[in-house]
Symmetry: C2
Subunit: 191 residues, 2 copies
Amino acid sequence: MAGNTKERLLDSSGELFRRQGYMGTGVKQILAEAGAPFGSLYHHFPGGKSDLGAETVRRSGFLYGLLLGEFAGPEVELAGGIRAFFAGAAGTLRETDYADACPIATVALEVSSSDEEMRQACADVFNAWIEGGTARFELAGIPHARARTLVIQMLAALEGAFVLSRALRSTEPVELAGEASVASIEAALAA
Amino acid sequence: MAGNTKERLLDSSGELFRRQGYMGTGVKQILAEAGAPFGSLYHHFPGGKSDLGAETVRRSGFLYGLLLGEFAGPEVELAGGIRAFFAGAAGTLRETDYADACPIATVALEVSSSDEEMRQACADVFNAWIEGGTARFELAGIPHARARTLVIQMLAALEGAFVLSRALRSTEPVELAGEASVASIEAALAA
DNA sequence: CTTTCACTAGAGCGATCTATCTAGTTTCCC
DNA sequence: GGGAAACTAGATAGATCGCTCTAGTGAAAG
């Protein structure tokens, strides 16, 4: 095997955690998906599953933040970018049979009252999203405090819509959450 | 033991699933919390853990819907009731050290791509909340389609805010989601 | 060529998981 | 009181869990 075993482990665990959560994913399943033996896991992640879990959360969260930035970066108009991002999220849900939504939300809910290290990893990711989003909204001319409020409301709408859409097997909640978020942004820009 | 063992089992599993999810809660833990032996569980729930899980989701979801109805029932003004409900949810989070949020969201994310029976139970609960909420919003004078949209957006905001608030250990997301929901409702009532 | 070290490989361990099984107790109807 | 049904009780089975351990491989350094 080439020297990309660690990345394959992170890719596999990221995908599995996103769909079935942390508790619902066994180490053996991650190893099978990555095509790696036990030895490799405990070489790259001495702390075992929780070590891999924390790093997976940080990495998957970072990548998802990048994705958001690609849709709504400074080079595109803000409201249109956000609209496209929600539409893309709805499309991904449809294409993956409602499996792929937020990569860390399931884990966040599972661990936030029982595993402080992993809860902190999730909190760091959410804070990074909030700060990155706030900066982008400010760039569009929205004052700092209002920008931060709007971003938190948008992220809440997105995360909650993912919960509803996956359970209901319908993209309607994601689409409606996108509409509400876009409307709030347009109102803030018009003010 | 009196004849309330089944209820104690449902109460215990409801509380544990809310905090740690379905996969993160063991049968033994539920039994210990309820003070019941294995035999009682498999007598009342022949299908075992998944049987108990599905019934817990339906029951907890129903009770949470009742709670929402108590805050924002027909006898109070709609926007004020919703505001009070979000404030209450924030208070509960604070009082329980950010443990008690939505009783079924964690389970919904965990099972919606792997256990069809439980996913359906979650979907039934969400649909009941949407229908109940839509009826209440219509009663306040909001047209059906708009009412339904607003309710879905409000539930998404609530669920997502719970994810953020628990991970960040802050009530800010829930409070901001409440403000956004109340503002949308007031705008619809003014139209 | 040899030593070294990062990494692969997987057998096997103890703990824990859900579920079953038999036995005992309580309740209620006749 | 007698008997059936509902329920409690917990030991135990069998599978699976995360993890440790030793051995082996490949490439780079000296």
